[in-house]
């Protein structure tokens, strides 16, 4: 019974990415020593016969074949359990199709778990794809407010930080130009500036250190460093083992949606490299 209460609380926390809430939560996070992220027995199940059935004819055909397709289950994540304490930096590694990005999406609340539970305490900054939700026909200025509200920032907070966002993204000249006239690098810069303008409790990073030119990458790294220094919890998905070693104290090695190893970065990275060396061709197979 206490479990259902806890669940309700968890989903409430997850559904409140607003900054005002985050600051309230911040005190409670610091006062209690509970982990920022708790994942227990998490599994994601996809029924392949249900997926991408986008016309009724197709569906009818599949219903007729039901017995055959019913077995086509696919588990992008299976029996995943771990927790991350405040200030920890966790690396997530594994071959393509191991479920790394899916895991980040579950934590961000984008994909609901089929089994198990995920508890996040605090505000998440999902840097999974920068500028998702940018509208090409709106100006840079309008997009700051659209994307900002999509990430759950209150209007007043955005107004207050507007100048800082524009300065950081180096967009002063182009802020009133429609986004469709921006280059890819420019909109990525704007996206990064908005998403990281408020310090989150939990930062989800999916291989993104290729934003903008060298000078802007330097700025991004500085911002990441300052987050690290302030004790922001970071989850980093990457294939760059040097970056993982530099950034993360602990690392999870995923394969076929399961945790193969979790522990100190050096050990886990070594195990992953042994695995890659031994089965270079088996890397991309799915069960």
């Amino acid at each position: 019974m206490s479990r259902s209460g806890k669940l309700g609380q968890a989903s409430r926390l997850l559904r409140l990415p607003g900054v005002d809430q985050a600051t309230q939560d911040h005190a409670s996070i610091l006062s209690s020593d509970r982990p920022v992220l708790e994942i227990r027995d998490l599994s994601i199940r996809l029924l392949l016969h249900r997926e991408r059935t986008t016309s009724i004819r197709e569906y009818a055909i599949r219903v007729l074949q039901r017995r055959r397709v019913e077995r086509d289950q696919f588990w992008p994540l299976r029996e995943v359990s771990f927790e991350v304490n405040g200030g920890d930096r966790l690396g997530i590694i594994g071959p393509n199709g191991a479920g790394k990005s899916t895991l980040l999406k579950v934590i961000a609340g984008i994909i609901p778990p089929s089994v198990g539970r995920v508890v996040v305490r605090g505000r998440i900054a999902p840097l999974i794809e920068l500028g998702a939700g940018f509208d090409p026909y709106l100006t840079g200025r309008e997009n700051v407010f659209l994307y900002g509200s999509l990430l759950g920032f209150p209007q007043k907070e955005l107004e207050r930080r507007f100048d800082r966002i524009v300065t950081f993204a180096e967009m002063e000249e182009f802020i009133d130009v429609p986004l469709m006239n921006y280059s890819v690098g420019m909109s990525a810069r704007l996206g990064f500036a908005i998403a990281t303008t408020v310090e989150p409790d939990l930062l989800l990073l999916d291989e993104l250190f290729s934003v903008g030119d060298a000078a802007f990458q330097k700025k991004c790294e500085q911002r990441m460093e300052s987050f690290k220094a302030k004790g922001v919890t970071i989850l980093l998905v990457s294939h760059d083992m040097n970056l993982i070693r530099q950034t993360c104290s602990r690392t999870v090695f995923l394969q076929h949606g399961r945790i193969v190893a979790i522990g100190p970065t050096d050990e886990v990275v070594a195990e992953y490299q042994r695995f890659s060396a031994s089965s270079p061709s088996g890397q991309r197979t799915r069960p």
């Binding site: 479990r3 989903s11 559904r15 771990f82 961000a108 984008i110 609901p112 999509l150």
Partner: protein, 285 residues
């Protein structure tokens, strides 16, 4: 939940086949109404975007919101004034219902497609999905309210005054918006799984338009088909919307209550169905 888990050390959890019956979907388990309220800022931004972008790159811009129904009114008047011309102020008769119909047909057809259209956002950011149909319908309500201004000018110009009966207007307007949202949520849910729904609806809504007394008076319907009026919620809704504007009197109470009842029912049904399935949307958009 008996399985203890450790962190910090290297563990390889032994697999236990999870029971597919246990579904603890954290992200779609708590009240959607509360979530919607917390995301009101996003709702506002989405409505602004829809209203703003509709006529972007057009010279007349926002004026089209007003001109569009005026043109339609002019055409209906030219075509049908011979037949229905005995009605006083036939153009006003047409446009008062036509504005309501536009709210409904645009709100539903955009609303039911809005989840799919915003797939790129849904795939990358957590956002309460119900916000997209709500924004589609809300922006049509905004357009309706804006087009009331020229409507009032038109009424003054043709010498029809308006009075206290206008105070009735919010009730049918709200009912109409609820009905449109209910339909958008209901069909929008199915549309995620079967994109055919959208095309069926496009054809269906045209038939619905002709089946509803908008440019013709309900009296011309033969007695044997009169029952259709009471099966069609749009008759009650548009008639209640039209009466305070066109006749300057209070709407018929039975129609007003019928419209409100059906709208609330449709909204609750649509909301429940949408909420029931929204957890699966991510795999289909």
């Amino acid at each position: 939940m008996t399985k203890a888990f450790s962190s910090g050390s290297s563990v390889s959890p032994e697999s236990v086949t999870p029971e597919p019956g246990i579904y603890l979907a954290e992200h779609c388990s708590s009240g959607p109404l509360l979530t919607l309220f917390r995301y009101r800022e996003l709702l506002r931004q989405l409505v602004i975007r829809e209203v703003k972008l509709r006529y972007k790159r057009s010279v007349l811009g926002f004026a089209w919101t007003v001109l569009n129904p005026l043109f339609a009114m002019a055409i209906f008047t030219m075509v049908f004034s011979r037949i229905f011309g005995d009605r006083p102020n036939y153009p006003l008769y047409v446009i008062t219902a036509l504005l309501g119909w536009n709210l409904f047909s645009l709100g539903t057809s955009r609303g039911l497609d809005s989840v799919v259209m915003n797939g790129p956002i849904i795939r990358k950011v957590f956002v309460p999905k119900v916000i997209f149909p709500v924004a589609s319908v809300a922006s049509q309500v905004v357009n309706f309210v804006f087009s009331l201004v020229p409507l009032f000018l038109f009424m003054v110009a043709i010498g029809v005054g308006f009075g206290r009966s206008l105070l009735w207007l919010p009730i049918p307007l709200l009912s109409l918006a609820c009905f449109a949202l209910g339909i958008a949520l209901l069909l929008g849910t199915f549309n995620v799984f079967f994109r055919d729904v959208k095309y069926f609806y496009e054809a269906g809504v045209l038939a619905w338009f002709y089946a509803t007394p908008i440019f013709y008076p309900p009296e011309i319907i033969p007695d044997t088909f009169k029952f259709l009026l009471y099966v069609n919620p749009m008759y009650a809704l548009l008639e209640s919307l039209r009466t305070p504007l066109y006749q300057g009197t209070a709407p018929r109470l039975d129609l007003l209550i019928l419209g409100l009842g059906i709208s609330v029912f449709t909204l609750l049904l649509g909301w429940a169905i949408f909420h029931r399935f929204e957890g699966r949307f991510i795999h289909y958009v």
